[in-house]
């Protein structure tokens, strides 16, 4: 399952919304079809539809779902807190998921497609990941969660890439960062996350 789709599903689970997943088969190029293009001109998944409203970009969709569902995971009633959520959402996107993405691609997708993992790319990105994790460790030694002492979308948004990190061959990278490890374990223990993990394990995912 795409990490971006998983992000959206977790938010739907968090607010207890009723939803339906419509599969788009990227292996057959369905994401490039005219029908999908009409939904998302960038040809990506997920695409989210709520009545007449069509949205793409998983973090934008996530925010919409959480706002509509009345969730406090964005902390929007507090300017300073919501700003910290935004800071760490950008860090997640720019420093965590962006380094995990090529690792996941090389270690999982490339072999699945019959190719050979480029270990140089994996190593380069693992080094970048470790640099970022050092900052996370310092942050999580001071605060319970990333944006402060409250859980937020910033924490949960890490779950999809973290799922693959925890299930892959580079999990030991986390051993040097005990606060990060404990924080991730807590994120992965959320009922919404566990539900989506079950969906990610399905062969159709």
């Amino acid at each position: 399952m795409s990490t971006n789709v998983a992000r959206v599903l977790v938010c739907l689970e968090e607010v207890g919304a009723e939803y339906e997943v419509v599969p788009v088969d990227m292996t057959t190029g369905e994401h490039k079809s005219p029908a999908h293009d009409a939904r998302n001109p960038f040809g990506q998944v997920p695409v989210f539809q709520d009545g007449d409203l069509i949205l793409y970009e998983s973090r934008a969709i996530s925010k919409y779902i959480l706002r509509k569902g009345g969730s406090d995971l964005l902390r929007e009633s507090n300017l300073a807190e919501s700003a910290m959520v935004d800071v760490w959402l950008k860090v997640e996107s720019g420093h965590f998921s962006s380094t995990m993405s090529p690792i996941i691609f090389q270690c999982l997708v490339v072999p699945f497609l019959g190719g050979e993992t480029d270990t140089k790319i994996v190593q380069e990105n693992l080094e970048k990941l470790k640099t970022a994790l050092g900052v996370y460790e310092a942050r999580l030694s001071r605060f319970k969660y990333l944006a402060g002492d409250f859980v937020s979308l910033a924490d949960i948004s890490h779950f999809p890439a973290a799922y693959y990190l925890l299930g892959g061959s580079h999990t030991s990278v986390l051993d040097a960062y005990p606060h990060v490890k404990a924080w991730l374990a807590e994120v992965m223990d959320r009922p919404s996350v566990k539900k989506v993990v079950e969906l990610m394990k399905l062969p159709s995912a």
């Binding site: 001109p41 970009e57 700003a83």
Partner: protein, 222 residues
């Protein structure tokens, strides 16, 4: 109330993103200039503000923020919430969508072109035309989507300017100073949108601190 402080170098397109939003917000702020070539962003006093060693950083009283888009959102939410369509469920979603589109597509595509066409010559880096061409190709596939969007509404998130439009300014400013500006000019609605952004006093004010060569030719190396 002490003015907000923004740390960084004004020629940075990331810094420009924060500055244009501060200008739009109409608040008092102070730029604390830093030297990139002097490595100010890697010094302990800056790492204490931003452990990732990046700029811009915003200080508003006790609050220290980094990541230019997070800064942009905070400043606008605080002073001009209509620019993030606060309280409008669907409107704010559209602002978020186009801020994400910019984050994932525009910076990644324009920055390599800008580095090779403008900066390279001053830092002893050979121009890599293959990198330029690869990113121009991506840009040519992106612009029709922008053109289609801007044909149905005046700005990206609707008929009013929002953070989504403003966030494009910094990178667009330098790209349009390269020899490839014509790639954008070929899309009339995108060109009109860019011209409308350029006409804004906030944009003009920030642009005054952004010479097209980043200051290299005049010796004001960032």
């Amino acid at each position: 109330m002490a003015p907000m402080k923004v740390y960084g170098w004004a020629v940075s397109p990331w810094m420009a993103r924060a500055l244009v939003c501060l200008e739009e917000a109409g608040v008092e702020y102070e730029i604390v200039p830093m030297s990139r070539c002097g490595g100010d962003h890697r010094r302990p006093e800056h790492l204490a503000r931003n452990p990732f060693g990046e700029i811009p950083v915003l200080e508003d009283g006790d609050l220290t923020l980094y990541q230019s888009r997070a800064i942009a959102r905070y400043v606008l939410r605080k002073y001009k919430p209509e620019l993030v369509k606060e309280g409008d469920l669907e409107g704010s979603a559209m602002v978020d969508v186009w801020m994400e589109v910019e984050a994932h597509n525009i910076e990644a595509t324009l920055w390599p072109i800008i580095r090779h066409c403008i900066i390279g010559q001053y830092v002893g880096r050979d121009r890599d035309q293959a990198v330029i061409d690869e990113n121009l190709e991506k840009l040519r596939r992106l612009l029709p989507v922008y053109e289609a969007r801007l044909s149905v509404c005046k700005y990206l998130a609707g008929d009013d300017i929002t953070a989504a439009d403003l966030c494009h300014f910094g990178f667009m400013r330098y790209f349009m100073a390269t020899e490839y500006a014509g790639v954008v000019d070929a899309f009339p609605h995108v060109k009109a949108w860019w011209d409308a952004l350029l006409a804004r006093p906030s944009v003009q004010k920030v642009m005054a601190g952004m010479p097209p060569d980043f200051g290299y030719a005049s010796g004001n190396i960032p």
